[in-house]
């Protein structure tokens, strides 16, 4: 098939899935957070609030787009655009699975494979700080300015430990192509311990994984590092003056960044789409089992509904899960879907972590945040890099 056509099809699929995930990640966050806090979360729009993202989008689109009088207009308009663009670009080099064959066409489950894929992501994300800085500056508002100053300092500071943590994982993978990085983690020690980066010899990258996650929290401005938009201090930080879709784009950018971050973590540290244990021990049946048990649970609750409307919604969910589980058992599809399942499961777990932490921790103070980056995170990441380097040099 023609390269352009193929890329266009893949781009369409990725964009559709990514944007849906963005919308539903927000729904999932609200729902999960609500359950952590012993409340229900969105439940009015659609069954279990499933249409809430749609309602939000409609609401935000139809809201009046305010342009405050005192802003620097050009930069004020550019900033949210920049934010969403720079947040969506990196996903183009992320591989979601191995090479597959669909309708006789061999292709990678990836938009494009750059041999400097990781550098590309770093390059794009390092520019991402401008959207925040410009938004704060252009708003001509003191809270926004303070927020963006904080943000600039924070993102630069945490980029260092982040990059160093990546470097130690790269030392073992010995490539910058994300697909090759994931492939370097295939296989198992003793037949069952996965050779993921976090377990890989000579130096398991657990420490750099932790550093990467913490710095990732900071890079994406999530609690406990959400100082640029710390609402109780700076009202809403850099996007205080934004409304309507411009405001929404900052939020979408934040969630897109989180998704990118979890994808990189999965690829670099958790072995990408490689299952937790070998297919010989039945790992390829895991997705079906998961979906079937989900289906059974939904069916059980549908038969004993807590609320009247669950009588219909939960069996519907059960049927959907059943179909999904059966799809994995179809030989032609199973080969494609199983790696995707593992990739999504690992990223999903990390996303859950992001939400969980938000429900648990308070916020750092600005100076504590900077001190944490420079006096704990960075030295730890450096030491880990050194040890990894020595061990790789000795054993390789």
């Amino acid at each position: 098939m023609d390269f352009f056509t193929l890329t266009l099809i893949k781009a369409g699929i990725v964009a559709a899935i990514l944007l849906t995930t963005l919308a539903y990640l927000q729904w999932a966050e609200r729902k999960l957070l609500a359950h952590i806090q012993l409340r229900l979360g969105p439940s009015r729009v659609g069954p279990h609030g499933l249409l809430q993202p749609l309602a939000d989008v409609i609401k935000l689109l139809t809201k009046e787009d305010l342009l405050p009088a005192h802003v620097n207009k050009t930069l004020y308009m550019i900033a949210p655009f920049l934010a969403i663009a720079l947040a969506l670009i990196p996903i183009s080099v992320v591989p979601f699975g191995p090479e597959i064959e669909v309708f006789g066409v061999n292709t990678h489950l990836q938009l494009t494979d750059l041999n400097i894929g990781l550098l590309f992501i770093l390059a794009i994300s390092s520019v991402g700080v401008y959207s925040v800085v410009l938004a704060g500056w252009a708003s001509n508002n003191k809270y926004a300015l303070l927020g963006s100053l904080r943000s600039a300092a924070q993102m630069i500071s945490y980029e260092l430990p982040l990059a160093v943590a990546l470097a130690s994982a790269l030392l073992m993978a010995n490539t910058l192509s994300l697909r090759e990085i994931a492939d370097s983690q295939a296989g198992y020690y003793l037949g069952f311990i996965p050779r993921w980066s976090v377990f890989q010899l000579p130096m398991p990258q657990i420490i750099s994984f932790a550093v990467f996650l913490i710095a990732g929290f900071a890079e994406t401005n999530r609690i406990p590092f959400d100082l640029p938009e710390a609402e109780t201090e700076l009202v809403a930080g850099f996007h205080t003056e934004y409304s309507s879709m411009k405001f929404a784009s900052f939020f979408m950018a934040e969630y897109a960044n989180i998704i990118t971050m979890t994808c990189i973590a999965t690829l670099l540290f958790l072995g990408g789409w490689h299952p937790l244990w070998p297919a010989a021990y039945g790992s390829s049946f895991v997705p079906s089992i998961v979906f079937f048990s989900g289906s059974a649970i939904a069916l059980y609750h549908g038969l004993h509904p807590a609320r009247p409307k669950d009588r219909y919604s939960l069996p519907a969910v059960a049927i959907a899960f059943l179909v999904a589980g059966l799809l994995f058992l179809v030989p032609a599809l199973g080969g494609i879907l199983t790696p995707l399942f593992w990739f999504a499961a690992k990223s999903g777990f990390l996303l859950f972590l992001f939400i969980w932490v938000r429900g648990t921790l308070p916020r750092f103070r600005y100076d504590q945040l900077m001190r944490f980056a420079w006096t704990y995170l960075f030295p730890v990441a450096m030491a880990n890099l050194l040890v990894t380097g020595v061990l790789v040099a000795v054993f390789a």
């Binding site: 429900g359 308070p362 750092f364 600005y366």
Partner: protein, 410 residues
């Protein structure tokens, strides 16, 4: 409060220093009157260098409703609903303080059951107020979940208040002479259920905060003010107990038969935000203890005093006896008269010393009601707490003062 620099604390909003002046790097930030963490309409004029606060000037009065003036045109009993609106998170404490002052002027004897009921309700109010404080304070520092946990328990409390008075917040349940209504059927079960469950809920909050390193980083050593300064600023309540002063009006000048209850006064030495947090949490535990004692030893008897010229007669009597009807008519139309004189009564509200100074000129309306509200005095200590610290510390310090703007502005 130290002597403010008049030249720099100008009230014009967000005045930009003039170009080329040496103070060009100083930024004036208007925190409030609409700001997520000023809990109402408080405005703090912050002078910043970077994020360091050079000077903080609170500007109050945005919620000034002239309650003290309004009291002068209401009859004595009509003032009670106004006191609800002073400190709207601890309205029963305000009801009690005012009622005690008027009762002192009238020299009324309150039956034991009413007194014990009052203690119970006021302690429930203390828990209620502290829950709102803990929730919003934790929310300010970013711990969102604690906020919702606290409001879950507060909801139970508001239901109990509704059960007693028919109102969730503006209860007006404690009146001059006793209580407004007979305690409802089943209040023992409702209150009992709450205080049985509450200690485990407190433990839940503590799990999320007390040993949390981020929480400790944010609160320990923040908002410190030495005991002498606190006394000098007129600060009372949990804040002064967190500085090591073991002083609680419930113990030192017992009112409403608090002397018959057994409880501890928690104190800490550190005088920072964390110490205030610990003191208030411990106070909630002590309140549970007091409530349990009040429930176990609740005396039998009348819930309102027998003073026909002050307290409305029973419905049945009013319909059958002419004296009762006359009293009812007189109290409803013109209120009861209070002998000329003045009385100052202070009680320990959740925020500190809550004093009511009532001056009577012998008519049925007070000549002057002065509310010595704790938040007003406590807020004066804010500038000294935050000078030289960061913006984020202001948020923590503000939360630790636990002021209510209605209480500040009246």
């Amino acid at each position: 409060m130290s002597e403010p620099d008049l030249s720099s604390s100008s009230l014009t909003p967000a005045e930009e220093p003039t170009e080329g002046s040496t103070s060009r790097r100083r930024m004036v930030l208007n925190m409030g009157p609409q700001h997520p963490s000023t809990h109402g309409v408080l405005r703090i004029i912050l002078e910043l260098e970077g994020e360091t606060i050079l000077n903080a000037t609170p500007d109050i009065g945005y919620l000034h409703t002239g309650i003290e003036k309004e009291c002068e045109v209401k009859t004595y009993q009509q003032v009670v609903p106004l006191t609800d609106r002073v400190d709207y998170l601890a309205n029963l404490s305000n009801n009690l303080g005012y009622s005690l002052a008027v009762e002192k002027l009238l020299q009324l004897e309150i039956p034991p059951k009413a007194q014990w009921m009052r203690v119970l309700l006021v302690e429930l109010t203390r828990i209620n107020s502290h829950l709102v404080w803990l929730g919003t304070h934790a929310m300010d520092i970013g711990a969102m979940t604690v906020f919702l946990y606290c409001f879950r328990e507060r909801e139970d409390l508001l239901r109990i208040f509704e059960m007693f008075s028919g109102q969730r917040m503006m209860t007006s349940y404690i009146r001059v002479g006793g209580l407004a209504l007979e305690p409802p059927r089943g209040w023992e079960q409702a209150v009992g259920k709450f205080i049985d469950a509450f200690p485990s809920k407190l433990a839940e909050y503590e799990d999320l905060l007390t040993k949390n390193p981020i929480w400790m980083n944010r609160t320990k050593g923040v908002g410190f003010l030495a005991l002498e300064d606190l006394l000098d600023c007129g600060v009372t309540g949990p804040m002064i107990r967190a500085a090591g002063m073991k002083w609680d009006i419930r113990k030192d000048e017992p009112y409403s038969s608090y002397d018959k209850f057994d409880f501890e006064i928690p104190t800490r030495e550190a005088s920072d935000v964390y110490a205030r947090y610990e003191v208030r949490l411990e106070e909630m535990r002590q309140s549970v203890r007091i409530i349990r004692q009040a429930m176990d030893g609740m005396p039998e008897g009348a819930w309102v005093t027998s003073a026909p010229n002050v307290v409305l007669p029973e419905r049945e009597k009013m319909k059958t006896q002419i004296e009762a009807l006359i009293y009812h008519f007189k109290i409803v139309t013109e209120g009861f008269t209070v002998p000329a004189g003045e009385a100052y009564v202070c009680i320990e509200s959740p925020r500190g010393e809550l004093g009511y100074y009532v001056v009577s000129n012998g008519t049925s309306k007070p000549h002057r009601v002065f509310m010595r509200t704790p938040s007003f005095a406590n807020l004066q200590a804010l500038p000294d707490m935050v000078k030289g610290r960061l913006i984020a510390d202001t948020i923590a310090a503000l939360g630790s003062i636990d002021f209510v703007l209605g209480d500040v502005d009246r």
